[in-house]
């Protein structure tokens, strides 16, 4: 009975496929408003006629051009992460099939680069389909409609992510927020401009190594201007951005006033023996978007 009902719900498969293609297109080509706002503020802060200002101006022009031309902001269209919020009894296998079809089409249309490499042979022949690609996460929710959140995270910024097992002796960083602050700032200094800064950090305190990174990335789905409900973490998030911007690393590591655009910290429980701080670095080309779908699977609302 439930299956029948859901089959009927998924019957406009074509709508769903088109909605996913549109979600991928917009994610790849348009910077969400909340992120664009902080980028523009960063541009204004930089001193005139410096290479930092020059970099920020090219970034500004790139944001405009990508949107106008409907072409990827960055040629590295990243790991495709899609979070699927669905009602109970949802047909995940069918969704995956449709989603893969959409990814192939989005690749053929040039919204995505051929970006899925066989780790053993080095071959990159598929249209972004392979073990782990695209990366889908299914989450059951109470709403009757499907909500999708998408993130395209490039390799350059992924490479500068870091995970610290606390205590971290080289910095005398202990298992408290003071220690957490130390390792976060250390990761920023180590990243320099290599992750295409100014960047944004998603951070998780706790969890195991796997869940830690996962939850760190989850923080990147938060809006730039949101405030952490935990007062201590809210304070730390703000302080990290201010302090990071005193390091003088600047856009692209050219030197300058903006090294970091934002910092979002989440927490998971840990084992008594472990205390991880997982840090996920997102480049300035912060590509994330989301949609809610109507019952016929067409897009009803954009989330960012």
């Amino acid at each position: 009975m439930a299956t029948k009902k859901l089959a009927a719900k998924l019957s406009p498969d074509k709508n769903l496929e088109n909605s996913i293609i549109e979600l991928l297109r917009v994610t790849s080509t348009v910077i969400p408003d909340d992120i664009q706002n902080v980028i523009m503020k960063a541009l204004k802060r930089e001193e005139k006629k410096t290479s930092a200002e020059y970099a920020m101006n090219i970034i500004k022009a790139n944001i405009k051009l990508a949107k106008t031309k409907s072409q990827p902001l960055c040629q590295d269209t990243g790991t495709i992460v899609i979070k699927v919020y669905h009602p109970p009894g949802f047909h995940q296998t069918q969704f995956r099939k449709i989603c893969e079809k959409a990814v192939v089409k989005a690749t053929k249309l040039g919204y995505l680069r051929q970006n899925s490499v066989d780790s053993l042979t080095g071959e990159n022949k598929t249209m972004n389909i392979g073990p782990g690609h695209p990366q889908l996460h299914f989450i059951e929710h109470k709403a009757k409609s499907i909500h999708l959140k998408c993130m395209l995270k490039g390799g350059g910024c992924e490479n500068v992510g870091a995970q610290y097992a606390m205590p971290y002796t080289p910095l005398e960083a202990g298992r408290d927020l003071a220690g957490v602050r130390k390792v976060i700032l250390d990761a920023i200094q180590k990243a320099q401009g290599k992750g295409c800064g100014p960047g944004t950090l998603g951070i998780c305190i706790g969890g195991d190594r796997g869940a830690g990174y996962q939850h760190a990335k989850e923080q990147l789905f938060r809006k730039m201007d949101d405030i952490n409900p935990n007062k201590e973490l809210a304070k730390l998030e703000k302080e990290i951005v201010e302090t990071a911007n005193k390091l003088g690393i600047g856009p692209m590591g050219f030197g300058g006033k903006t090294t970091l655009l934002g910092c979002k910290i989440g927490v998971l429980n840990r084992l008594p023996a472990s205390y991880f701080v997982s840090i996920s670095y997102m480049c300035w080309a912060f590509r994330r978007q989301g949609v809610t779908l109507k019952t016929d699977q067409t897009i009803s609302k954009w989330l960012y």
Binding site: L65, A66, Q75, G110, Q114, G156, G193, G255
Partner: protein, 188 residues
């Protein structure tokens, strides 16, 4: 703002200094991980790279119906992965320099000094602005490496870069890394 026009000359490269903003007009050859790896293993490049510039880039390229190509996104990729190999390419194939992002390390800096090369930093993530500067695709080599890894011969007009490592031993990356490390130490 300085300019470099094709055919590029070694003397002009030697004049460039860290911090110079340069617009390049002429020709670039893309080459990233697989190309450097193959050259390092002993295969000669399919084109003469003397006095040429290598661009660390894996572009998004669409094939037109007439068989020609269109570059739709072409920002730089992280250069440090070529750190083990780049100095050899400078020595063996007499390139003038490389364009990439994130900077490179001491081996490449020494290579720049020994062989008269520069490291030019393009703006990472600015794939559209940079693709606009590519007027046409002249040729493609080593296509078997896959589209992002192949060598694309690109014609460019006023391609914007910042010199971050020059032929005289200066590296903006090293300077910023050192100064930010000192600041971090003070803060912690």
């Amino acid at each position: 703002m300085k300019t470099l026009n094709y055919p590029f000359k070694r003397e002009e490269i030697l004049e460039l200094k860290v911090g110079d903003m340069v617009l390049i007009t002429g020709k670039l050859f893309t080459g990233r991980d697989a190309v450097h790896h193959r050259i390092h293993k002993g295969t000669k490049p399919p084109v003469n790279l003397e006095n040429q510039i290598i661009y660390h880039c894996g572009p998004v390229v669409l094939e037109n119906k007439d068989g020609s190509y269109k570059v739709t996104a072409a920002g730089p990729t992280t250069s440090i992965r070529e750190e083990p190999y780049e100095w050899e390419v400078m020595r063996d194939y007499k390139i003038l320099g490389v364009i990439g992002k994130g900077g490179m390390g001491p081996k490449t800096l020494q290579g720049c000094k020994d062989y008269g090369c520069v490291y030019m930093h393009a703006i990472g993530g600015a794939a559209q602005v940079l693709a606009e500067k590519i007027t046409s695709v002249e040729n493609v080599y080593w296509r078997d490496l896959g589209s992002p890894e192949a060598i694309w011969e690109l014609n460019v007009v006023e391609f914007p870069v910042v010199i971050t490592m020059d032929a005289h031993g200066n590296s903006l990356h090293k300077d910023i890394e050192d100064s930010s490390a000192i600041k971090l130490k003070e803060i912690l």
